[in-house]
Subunit: 135 residues, 4 copies
């Protein structure tokens, strides 16, 4: 599987402060990369968190599964690739994989589950699903 | 299930810089809490990373599954509780759950898979398993 | 100078994820320690950010001077010590120093300047200064 | 003063996880931006940390002065600009300023002092100074 199989990808470079004593990116920082890539993806779809938030709607991560395949090191460049699907009425699944560049080595596989809530309760987010092409 | 069902627990307090725009602890920071609790647990078992590292042995996280049940906020106190088991010959599973204090509200369920490697290759870490009571 | 010369101190232990490739705490993390210690200090004085915030008053850091004397490493324990003084009508100076424990080795000297703002404009925060004993 | 007065600049965008409860970038994260920009600057000069490190030479930050002029927020783009000078025989001063883009608003002024050490002792780093044009 290569980056072409995804609907969105965005590039990063490792920053030294993200590496730990072992000289590799600390495990928690991959969640930062995944989160930032999701936000860029949603913005690319014209989705405005602040507009939804004003209507009381928030998108909340409820579960993350992440497989660490190979570590990133100082100066490495990489892309985070995203595919999405709906699961039932309320869950949006972000399949997010990280590949080192330029050699396409698989670094991380992940599956991030999010739900929309309105005033704290799960809802079926019609407008959001439309904008994501999941309706 | 309460904290009594685990073999180890360690207390934390949320620091404001760990919270994000929504006023809750950022998802990635829970991985920091889980990592720090694992390291404290291993130290409590007399396990010295540096001694193992000198012998070429490292303990590597290969997979994290984390369910976010309820968010932590500024000033919240909480405990990270740990149970371990062996899976096959090479995997050590850390079941790590987070409870807010003093009300024991479940915040996070997680399952962290680690393997021992010697010079980069997975091994059955006999001494480590003994010290963890998993032999 | 020892910890006895300060009006407040609070203890920490280095967490491994705070260390970088060189095996020492990354420079930026000392600002996290200093911030968390200031917040604990203000809480110890009965100062509620949220109450002040509701009145439109915020305490903003405008300048940090920090001298790195000696690095902290994995597992090190340390204290952040605080002394405060007023500078003119609007500035509060936090002199914050970090000492490793138990050997009292000086790790960091710092001077953090904060001002109070009301609806974004600097003010002389009478109530805050009283609670801090700076009136 | 604009970006043209510096010898190096590099662009960033704020990531949401870098913002805190107040909706602005947390103060400590500016030190991360400054560090990453310095490393990019040194790489642009052909300076290899690993080669110097093999010779026992390290570049250590000993002091940071930072003035927070205006906060960055979610989605803001900005540049970190760098000028350097020598101070005495052993200190290299990085004057690093941050400007929001595209409006050039000044966000942060900073002065970062570094020294070179060989096997832990300060030295006059001839080769490094040459490569930086400070000889």
């Amino acid at each position: 599987m290569t980056e072409a199989n995804y609907s969105f990808s965005t590039g990063f470079a490792v920053r030294d402060y993200e590496c730990d004593i072992q000289g590799v990116v600390n495990n928690a920082n991959y969640l930062h990369y995944l989160e930032h890539a999701r936000h860029e993806f949603l913005i690319s779809k014209g989705i405005s968190f602040s507009k939804f938030h004003e209507e009381g709607i928030d998108l909340i991560v409820t579960r993350v599964e992440i497989d660490y395949k190979y570590p990133l090191r100082s100066l490495d460049k990489f892309v985070v690739c995203i595919k999405i699907q709906r699961e039932g009425n309320v869950r949006i699944i972000f399949e997010q994989d990280i590949f080192r560049q330029p050699d396409h080595k698989l670094i991380v596989n992940s599956k991030v589950t999010a739900i929309a809530t309105k005033n704290g309760r799960p809802i079926r987010p019609g407008d959001l699903l439309s904008q994501l092409g999941l309706e």
